[in-house]
């Protein structure tokens, strides 16, 4: 960000007298605003798409009143959430009750900072990218627990505790399933991971096809991440039929809206991480995007990245409306008895593969056979 500020100061004569840190700070705020607008738009439109997909799968029409084909439903929902009365239960812990939604929303939104949208389109290319995402999403757990506890409601408490247990358990397989991508790239930075999947192999340069273990790893990640973000086969924390709505049952108005937005934000983060770590990120097949002029290269790579990420989001919605919900004990057993050991074995397999074949994947070896 500071390098950008320096080049901006050099390029625009008007800024010559302004101290560097002011320019940097203003740039940071501007970038954050752009990402916030993107995140909120995605979350709004995502809620509409989710309901449309649900309608399709359940053989009904879905929202169709507001605007053509119900396209403006999400705006109506947004206005409704903002205008609704904000109720705080009399016996709730007022401060914590108000604080909890912010924890959840900030934890979900902060992860957008390291999403590699394009060749040069990343808010902060941190050298610990993946760990940063895992660190900020741990705020979500705290927020959910607080929401459940501060509501002073038995359902909310149970929902909050279920959510926390679930997120903490599934954090381990999620992290372990992402490490193969880190091993292949030799870096935790998401940009480096995406770059390591480029080159002239096209889609076979993706980590997904690198070797059998990474292929398996992708599905492990997808399953575990679906659970970590409380998507439906694993949406125990808010199971409507038993817990009413879980940790957010006492929330109304925009405070509920923040939980709702964070849920869709998490969905995008999962899709974006899967895209960046296994599906080649913004790489255009058989083509180096970096050789194009800055603006076209970025636009093209942004388009490629968003197409893949949105496709992943659609698959998540599809799974969400197709599978029935698990039981709590089944959920915990699945994480600790199956996913965690499998991801460990998988990690060992990828490490051995990289050691034995000197970091080469199957497509790379086949390509080198033909010269």
């Amino acid at each position: 960000m500071e390098a950008l500020a320096i080049s901006l100061v050099n390029a625009v004569p008007l800024l010559a007298g302004v101290p560097l840190w002011t320019v940097t700070l203003l740039l940071m705020v501007a970038v954050a605003a752009v990402i916030l607008v993107f995140a909120l738009t995605f979350e709004g439109v995502g809620s509409l798409v989710l309901r449309k997909v649900a309608g399709d799968i359940q053989a009904r029409i879905g929202p169709n009143r507001v605007g053509p084909n119900g396209m403006l439903q999400f705006l109506a929902d947004g206005v409704k959430l903002v205008l609704k009365e904000d109720i705080i239960p009399a016996n709730a812990d007022r401060l914590l009750f108000k604080l909890a939604p912010y924890f959840v929303f900030v934890g979900s939104f902060a992860a957008f900072v390291v999403v590699p949208f394009g060749v040069g389109l990343i808010a902060a290319d941190l050298n610990i990218g993946i760990y940063y995402v895992m660190a900020v999403t741990s705020l979500v757990v705290i927020g959910v627990l607080l929401a459940g506890w501060a509501s002073n409601n038995k359902w909310a408490l149970l929902g909050g505790m279920r959510a926390a247990a679930q997120i903490v358990s599934y954090e381990i397989p999620v992290g372990m399933a992402l490490i193969p991508a880190v091993l292949i790239a030799g870096s935790l930075s998401l940009q480096d991971i995406v770059r390591s999947q480029g080159g002239l192999l096209g889609i076979f340069g993706w980590n997904l096809f690198h070797n059998p273990f990474t292929f398996f790893s992708f599905f492990l990640y997808f399953t575990a991440a679906q659970a970590e973000t409380n998507q439906t086969p694993f949406d125990l924390p808010e199971a409507e039929s038993e817990l009413v709505s879980g940790y957010n049952v006492e929330y109304s108005g925009i405070r509920f809206g923040l939980f709702f937005l964070a849920e869709f934000g998490d969905m995008f983060i999962v899709a974006a991480l899967a895209t960046a770590c296994f599906l080649g990120g913004w790489n255009v097949p058989f083509f180096h995007v970096g050789t194009l002029p800055w603006i076209w290269g970025n636009l093209l790579s942004l388009g490629v990245f968003l197409t893949k990420a949105f496709a992943m989001v659609l698959i998540m919605m599809w799974v969400r409306w197709t599978l029935p919900r698990l039981r709590v004990d089944q959920l915990m057993r699945m994480s600790w008895k199956y996913l965690v050991p499998l991801t460990f074995v998988n990690l060992l397999g990828v490490s051995l593969w990289l050691l034995v074949f000197r970091g080469k994947g199957i497509p790379g070896m086949i390509a080198s056979l033909f010269g």
């Binding site: 840190w21 812990d93 914590l96 941190l126 050298n127 610990i128 760990y131 940063y132 895992m134 660190a135 900020v136 999403t137 741990s138 705020l139 757990v141 705290i142 627990l145 607080l146 459940g148 506890w149 408490l157 909050g160 505790m161 926390a164 247990a165 903490v168 954090e171 935790l188």
Partner: protein, 162 residues
């Protein structure tokens, strides 16, 4: 700039730590502990130790404190039934121990004073990994055995019949 940030986050960490000890309700203490942990993570970032900062947040804020909050929620003692601490000898001892600790850290700080500005990379992934698997390998492996023993112990205590 760096000094200002250091003082800011240092102050947050120290104030948070004091609040952890003085708050009456355990939930408030746990929350202040999270604040302190985040401030310490920020201090790590200021020393370019990004990896340590991330691990600090993932392990302590994301797992250890979550476990604390979990237990506090499970027990859920009403406000008026929280135990009142009266042990004055313990308090005197505590203040004495704190005094010793501050003295000791002052002495240590004078010895290992870190120069201002960019320092040798000590907290990056490579540096931590290399240190763990070369110089501190024995300690690292023994720690893993200790953790395994703790896990088995917990299961043995919780489940008499396996």
């Amino acid at each position: 700039m760096e000094t200002v940030l250091f003082i800011l986050f240092g102050a947050i960490a120290v104030c948070g730590a004091i609040m952890v000890v003085t708050r009456k309700h355990p939930m408030a203490s746990a929350l202040y502990l999270i604040l302190t942990l985040f401030a310490v993570a920020a201090l790590f970032v200021l020393r370019q130790a990004h990896f340590l900062a991330a691990i600090q947040v993932i392990i302590y804020a994301g797992a250890v404190v979550v476990l604390f909050i979990f237990v506090i929620m499970l027990i859920n003692v009403p406000e008026d039934r929280l135990p009142v601490e009266r042990a004055t000898t313990m308090r005197v001892l505590g203040v004495l121990a704190a005094g010793f600790f501050i003295l000791e850290s002052a002495v240590l700080a004078r010895r290992f004073w870190m120069p201002i500005g960019p320092v040798a990379e000590v907290g990056t992934v490579e540096a931590v990994g290399r240190a763990l698997f070369t110089d501190y390998l024995l300690a690292f492996e023994i720690t893993s055995v200790l953790l395994l023993a703790a896990v088995i112990g917990a299961i043995a205590l919780a489940k008499r019949k396996i």
